[in-house]
Symmetry: C2
Subunit: 147 residues, 2 copies
């Protein structure tokens, strides 16, 4: 196993993200939200994960019924956590206007069976009561980038 | 085949959408954009479809590399058109702030092999030069709604 692979695996397991410096308040809020997501996810705290979404947020996971609202979102992620031991988010784009923003990127997963996978995602973020929360979360499998 | 099934199939084939009355300018723009998408798609006009996206728009289709920019988007949809003879968009939500909006909903497809399928989607719309264009387009397969 190469040192890169070991380091990648360690990052996956620990959910480590490089700390980016942007000077963009929305991007910083998205980064903070994602760091909180990874932390709560790896702690197995589905309720804390669900509270990073709006009250009427929707998670659209491939093959699953859309999870609408925090209770459904907690139930979805609670199930997914059992099959996952590492998660790392690689944000590519954040654009915003007022209280609405979107993010796209790639999520890297390490399954509890040791299998690595990745998916491309779009998250719509909404500032609610002054706090940026995930409002729509959708992903699918496929190559991470254009060839 | 029931009359409903015949009517559904006819709607799929023709890309017919009920004309909604919203009084919401952004929702109206999204509906008009979607109607233009269906029309260009069924006409086999991949270039016209690509012009409904921003210059740096991205289409993330399951299993395919992200198509970034109008040339890549035209190439992607040009290929998909060959496998599809009906498309119908069922918008569930449109929310906007300033020049940014998102839409979610369900797309119903009729394959050239006669097979019906559907997918859940999120589209990020961006007002560019006064015109609402698709900026991110992602979908996946799964049940259309929560159980």
């Amino acid at each position: 196993m190469s040192r890169f692979a070991v380091a990648s695996l360690a990052c996956l397991l620990l959910g480590v993200q490089a700390a980016p410096v942007h000077g963009d308040a929305v991007r910083d809020a998205v980064d903070a939200g994602n760091a909180a997501f990874v932390k709560a996810f790896l702690a197995g705290d589905a309720k804390a994960v669900s509270e990073l979404y709006t009250e009427d947020g929707v998670v659209m996971a491939p093959g699953a019924a859309p999870a609408r609202g925090r209770a459904a979102i907690a139930a979805f992620w609670g199930g997914a956590m059992k099959e996952t031991r590492g998660v790392r988010l690689e944000t590519a784009t954040v654009e915003s206007h007022g209280d609405l923003a979107f993010e796209d990127g790639v999520v890297h997963l390490l399954g509890s069976d040791g299998r690595e996978s990745s998916a491309r995602y779009v998250v719509v973020w909404k500032r609610t009561g002054g706090r940026w929360l995930m409002h729509r979360d959708i992903w699918n499998a496929g190559p991470a980038a254009a060839p």
